[in-house]
Each structure stands twice: as C-alpha cells, then as structure tokens.
Symmetry: C2
Subunit: 449 residues, 2 copies
C-alpha cells in the first residue's frame, strides 16, 4: 500500500512533462497522497516541478509544496507569480501558509498577501507573521473548533458541522467562556456519547493544558511529549484562545532539531543531505575544517615553543596525538551529555556540585587511563619518570577538558546562545590546543628541559 | 497551568512519606497529571517511590510507571510483588503493559502474567510479547475501535460507545470486512455529520495507510511522519487488523533514537543523563576513552617506526596533531551525513557515483586546506619542499578519511549493523592511526629519510 517511487515511474512523469501531456500526468498521479507528490517534486528539476505545480489542483499542490525540502520549494516559488503563490496559500491552513510566506522576500510577501481572495484568511496570516519565529505564535494555526460553555450538545454538534469543514484534524473541541477565554476542552468521544439536551458546561473537562503565544518551541515540544498530547491550544496574554498546534508539526520540529544538533556536533554548518551537490556540501563542511586547521597550526606553533624537548625527550612528541585525542574525546562526551540535558531541561542543581562531580569523574577516568599509559610505558621499556610524567599531564588535560566541555555549553545557554555550538569541532579544536600546551608545560616542569 | 516541581513541593512529599501520612499525600497530589507524578517519582529514592506507587490508585500509578526513566522503574518493580505488578498491568493499555513486562526477568514474567485477573488482557499481552522488539508488533496496542462495513451509522455509534470505553484516544475508527481484514477507515468527524440510517459502506474511506506486524520501527516512524498520521493500524500476514500504533509512542521513539545516535557519536556507550551518578557516567564514558587511548598508543608505535625523521625533519612531528585532527574532522563529517541519510532513507544512487563524489569533495576541501598550509609554511619560513610535502600528504589523508567515513557506515548498514556505530570515537580513532601512518609514509617517500 505505501507508495514507492521507482525510477520507471519517475521517467514516465518526466516523459509526460516533456510532452506537456497534462491529461496523462493527472491520470498517472491521481491516486497519490500529497507527500508522495512531494517526493516526486524533489526528484524533478525546478522547471519540471513548477510545471507540475501549475498543472495539478491547488488543494493537492499546496500540501505538496509544504512537504518538499525548503531548497526545492524556494526554487519553485521563484518561478511562480504572486497571484499563483496566493492561490496556493488560499488552500493552506494558516500555520503552513505563514511558514511558506515567511520564506519569501518582504516586498514579494506584500504583493502575495494582496492577491489572497479570502480577506479573513489573509488577515489571519498577517497576524501570525508578527510572532517570533521560535515561538508558539509562529507555529500555531488558527483553524480549530471552539464552543461556548453555555451551549447545549445539540447546538454544539450543529456548530461543529459548520466549523469543522475547515479543520483537518479534530481531536478536542475547545471550550471558552463568553469573552473567548479558554476554560476547558471536550473530546469528540464524550460528545458522541452524551445526550442531545445536555449542556456543554455539564460534560466538558475544565482542565486543559495550554501554551501562550510567546512560549518557545522547545517548551511546546516538551509539554506535548510529556503529556502525550496531539494538539495543544494557544492563548494570548489575556487568556483568549487564538490558535492551536498539532502534533505533526511538533514531530517535524523534533526531527529537525535533532538533525540540526547532530550536524552541529559533526561540524557541518548548515542543513545538508547526502545527495546535495558538491558545492553545497563544501560550503557546509569547509568552514569547520578551516577552524580545525588553524587549531592544528596553533599546535605547531606551541610545539615549536617547546623545541628544546626534542633533544632529551623526543618521545613526548610521539604522544601529542594521544593527548589531543583524549582531550577531544573527553570534551565531546562532556558537552554531549550537558547539551542533551539542557535540551531536555534535565540540568538541575548547583553549578558548584556539578564542578565537583565533573572533576571527580575526570579523576577516575583520567587515573584509569593514566595507569594504562604507565603500564604501556613499562612494557615498552620507557623511562618510568617519563611514563609517569605523561600520565600525570594527561590526567590534568582530561580534567580541564571535562570542565571546558561541561561549562562552556552551560555558560552559552545562560547567555541565550545555542549551547550546541560548543559540541563538535569547536570543542575538539580548542581542547587540542590547550591540551598540547598543558602537556608540554607540565612535562617541562617535571622533566626540567 | 503547567506543573512545576519546586524543591518546596518535593520536601512536602518526602515529609509526608516519612510520616506515612497517606491522606495528606493523596490530597497534595490529587490534581496532578500522571506525567507530573512520574517527575516526582524520579526525584524520590526507590523506597519512597515504591511507597507512593502502592499508595495511589493503580489507574494513576500505572501511567506514571510508564513515564519514569527505565532505571527508576526497574528499582520500583524490584520492590513489588508479582501480584502488585499484575495490578498495574491490568490498568495499562496493552502496548505499555508489554513494554513494562518485557523488562522483567522471564521467570518473574510468568508469575506476573498468572496474576492478571482479566484473562483476555493477559492473552493479549502474551501475544504481543512474541513480536520482535524493533517491529510494529511490539510497538502496537490492541486497544482500538473497529466496525464492520455492513453496519449502519446508528449501530456503529452504539458499538463505539461500548468499545470506546477502553480506548484512550479515538482518531479514526477502522473498518473491516466480515473476516476482520482491514478495508478502510472512518473519521469521528464524518460519523458525527452523517445521517443515522446511512451505511458505513457508504461513508467510509476505503483508502487507509497501514503497516504489518513485522514492519521495523524506523519505517513506521517514517510513514507516520511523512503522511502526518496520528495513529496507524497494524495488520498481520493475512491482512487482519490486529492492533494500532499511536503518535505519542512514535514521538517517544523518534526522540529516543535521536538521543541514542547523538550519544553514540559522542562516544557514550549507554543511555546516560547529566544527573546520573559518577559510576553510571564512568561506565558509559570509559570504554570509548580506552579505545581512544589504544589508538593514541598505536600512533606512538607508528611514529617510533619513523624515528629517523627526527634528525632532519623534526617539524613533521609538530604537524601530527593537525593531521590527526583533519582526518578526524573529515571522517566525522562524512559519517554524520551518511548516517543521517541512511536513517531518512535518503541515500540513493550507485555506490560508484558516491565514491567519485566523495573523492571530488575531498579533493576540493583538501586542496583548499593544503593551500593554507603552504601559505602558513611560507610565512613561517618553512622549507617549501617540506611545506608542500605536508600539504600533499594531508590531502591524501583527507581523501582516505572521507572515503572511510562514507563507506564504513554504508557497509555496516548493508550487513544489518547499526551504522551509527561508525560515528564518533570509532571513526576518529581509526582515522588518527592511518592518517599519521599515511602522513609519514608519503613524507618519507618525498623527503627521502
């Protein structure tokens, strides 16, 4: 049953487009879900994709447009007139419409909004555009079903039939008071199983989870995941019900955030995929590699400063990759744990306790590893003093690396900067530099060169 | 409205537990959602938590038990008798019941199942236990609402009232034929707005997305995210409707998978959190650090093999951290992109094309970086031949690192092993070793030492 896009199917589509055979295309694609149309659009070139968008019903294409990768969507929108874009927006739920229009340049935005026929819809979109990008206000849709406490079940069902035409997914019906303030909710199940003459005020649930228009996206996702919600109502500063967020948007948000964090930890500076062009991939990868290069050159510079060790203790220079690797690994582990903890709101307790814990952890890990180094040195016939010196300076490097990896994200987070920046090449590069410096500094003190 | 667990509130809870004041506890906690109870349980010690579980209604505690961290749950279950565990399972939906019972030892599982009063429920749990852990069969619940095509709307509503008592979330009502095979679905909205005498066969939607009991979890998540589904029916090999998976379980799954991949990339061998004990954190972190250590010792060994370079070209040894860092960074970038691509089913096209692309990418990035090295060498007064040798060997290392980072995950994936293993310390350590070897090998060839 699930659709699979085969090369054969794709060639048929491309063939029909080349022949401008609209009828054959419509017949070929008529059974498909918009998500499948989106998959096809992503495999076509921009002109072919635009042809398809213009050909098919806006009811279908508007949904498909929201599903495609934003690069693909950008290229298609470039080829559509404001009037054509407005026609797509007309069909969309307000939350999707706002997402799409926000991607356009401001002057084009104005032209497009002017072309929207449904004034009410246009006004909703303009209202939603005002909200900060990372808040519930920007994520929410204005389509929902709401009833007043004072109505009867029969009246409610009548009103529902009217309102629900525009609402794709009805989970809960939201209950408000006369001023439009959110006071509770009503499940369709309860509505179906209640008597016709009962009043809403008798059967509704006065307890309802909600967020405000200014709540941050991460918090919305956290609440919805914690309470297993599929939709959450959004209220303004006066408690007035103004929109709702559905779980499908949160699922997309969670996935996007996870991918972003993962890529940041791997040193990729923007959203790339395995099948992007060489230029797009280079643009994402090169910046962090250059950072790593400068870190490496910094290490060269530092080691030149300790050149005198070459005479008596050249073996120290054989250990530099090990020191750098340990500093890097420990730093990445620490930062990954903290960054995940901050994202899940799991980082509690005093900073001092955390410092003590990290130092303790580093002491245990570092001592174990140091012991292994001493044993290796002993087996390899290394001067015991040198072996111990290396082990001790490695231990110091590990302690500092753990502290840096733990506290840099925390400090960034407190200053409102995304702590995930401090994972990946940023941490490994800086830890490499100070790690090598600390290693030689301590070795020089002990071995006296 | 959203509950915040304050230190003050927690102390009150702990106080009442110490005084064994059940009444005061019930009064304090009566308004709370099970997810909030779970939050409290995680802050108590195991004995306090068990006391609370035994005190409160199983309707509430069973849900709370599923929400807590598995470590916490394990300790609580250790302190409950099979009869008490069975009482909790009695209240749970079958998918949660199966998850919890699967965590127990097999001999305890049997005792618990024997104690379950509702035989039908026990039979369902036993059936679900048979399915492979990572498939739809293990993820699904048996609670759902299904109606036959041949019924009327009135009959359907009557049947719904009966079935829906046990079903927490009703989105779609699934429609089956006489043999119980899935043939379509019906939305509550459509049911509400249809006439009483209409037949289901007239109003139901014969098109419905589904998965089979053997479909893998990642595939279920992908389908539900792609088609914005909130629940998906599950059929057996004969097309018979046997269960359904709801979006809240998929949200949890997506989040857990993302965290697991992130931690694997950071070199953490199990699920840890920032507030775990030092021993738990050490157990998760030390293994990969030891791996990194052995990699570092391997580098020491390799460099001893090229000791002769110390006499004429000691500066080569100053560049080893840079070479290792570049090999590591490039490898991590490549593997992150591929592993994400494999997870999203985005990795298509022939392997040969991918190889050409990776080599091309590595050439561009490596040459840019090599140029920077040559420039740096020139400014620092380095012998031009040495500078170019370093740049060229760095370029070779980058090409090999990119290929390793790209193809090791692909090969693992083809063999059914989780490709995410090949991210993080595994890649960086192996790339360090061969990178340093390749660097000296090429340098020796060119500079002839």
């Amino acid at each position: 049953m699930p659709f699979q896009l085969t090369d054969d199917f794709l060639s048929q589509v491309e063939q029909h487009i080349a022949n401008k055979d609209g009828l054959a295309l419509k017949e070929l694609l008529q059974e498909l879900h918009f998500a499948d149309i989106a998959e096809i659009l992503e495999e076509l070139n921009s002109d072919e994709a635009t042809y398809l968008i213009k050909l098919l019903e806006t009811e279908l294409t508007s949904e498909a447009l929201m599903e495609v990768d934003d690069d693909v969507r950008e290229k298609i929108l470039d080829r559509l007139s404001p009037k054509e874009i407005a026609a797509e927006l007309e069909e969309m739920d307000t939350d999707d419409a706002v997402d799409m229009i926000a991607e356009l340049d401001e002057d084009i935005q104005k032209k497009v909004i002017d072309k929207i026929v449904d004034e009410h819809h246009a006004a909703d979109i303009v209202e939603l555009l005002k909200y900060d990008e990372d808040t519930a206000g920007a994520l929410m849709a204005k389509e929902l079903v709401q009833v007043k406490e004072t109505w009867t079940v029969a009246g409610c069902v009548r009103e529902m039939r009217r309102q629900a035409k525009n609402v794709t997914r009805v989970h809960s019906i939201y209950v408000t008071n006369k001023q439009g303030q959110l006071t509770g909710r009503l499940s369709l199940k309860d509505l179906l199983t209640a008597g016709e003459k009962a009043h809403i005020s008798d059967i509704f649930i006065p307890k309802v989870d909600y967020v405000t228009v200014h709540t941050e996206n991460e918090e919305v996702a956290r609440i919805m995941q914690k309470y297993d919600l599929e939709a959450i109502p959004v209220v303004d500063e006066n408690g007035k019900l103004v929109g709702r967020i559905t779980i499908d948007d949160i699922v997309d948000f969670i996935k996007d955030e996870a991918e972003k964090d993962y890529q940041m930890a791997a040193g990729l500076s923007q959203d790339v995929e395995a099948d992007d062009t060489i230029w797009e991939l280079t643009r994402a990868r090169l910046p962090w590699l250059v950072l790593g290069l400068f870190g490496g050159l910094g290490s060269v510079y530092i080691m030149q400063g300790f050149e005198e060790a070459l005479e008596r203790f050249p073996i120290l220079f054989f250990f530099t990759p090990l020191i750098a690797a340990m500093a890097g690994n420990v730093g990445v582990q620490s930062s990954a744990i903290i960054v995940q903890g901050l994202a899940n709101d799991n980082v509690k307790g005093s900073l001092f306790n955390r410092l003590v814990k990290e130092v303790g952890l580093a002491l245990i890990n570092g001592s174990t590893l140091g012991l292994l180094v001493v044993i290796f040195g002993f087996i390899a016939g290394l001067d015991p003093l040198v072996g111990i010196t290396i082990a001790v300076s490695m231990l110091s490097v590990i302690i500092v690396a753990a502290l840096v990896g733990t506290f840099v994200p925390i400090i960034l987070d407190k200053r409102g900067i995304d702590p995930a920046i401090a994972t990946g090449p940023f941490i490994t590069t800086s830890n490499d530099i100070f790690g090598i410096f600390l290693f030689f500094f301590i070795s020089k003190l002990v071995l006296d060169f």
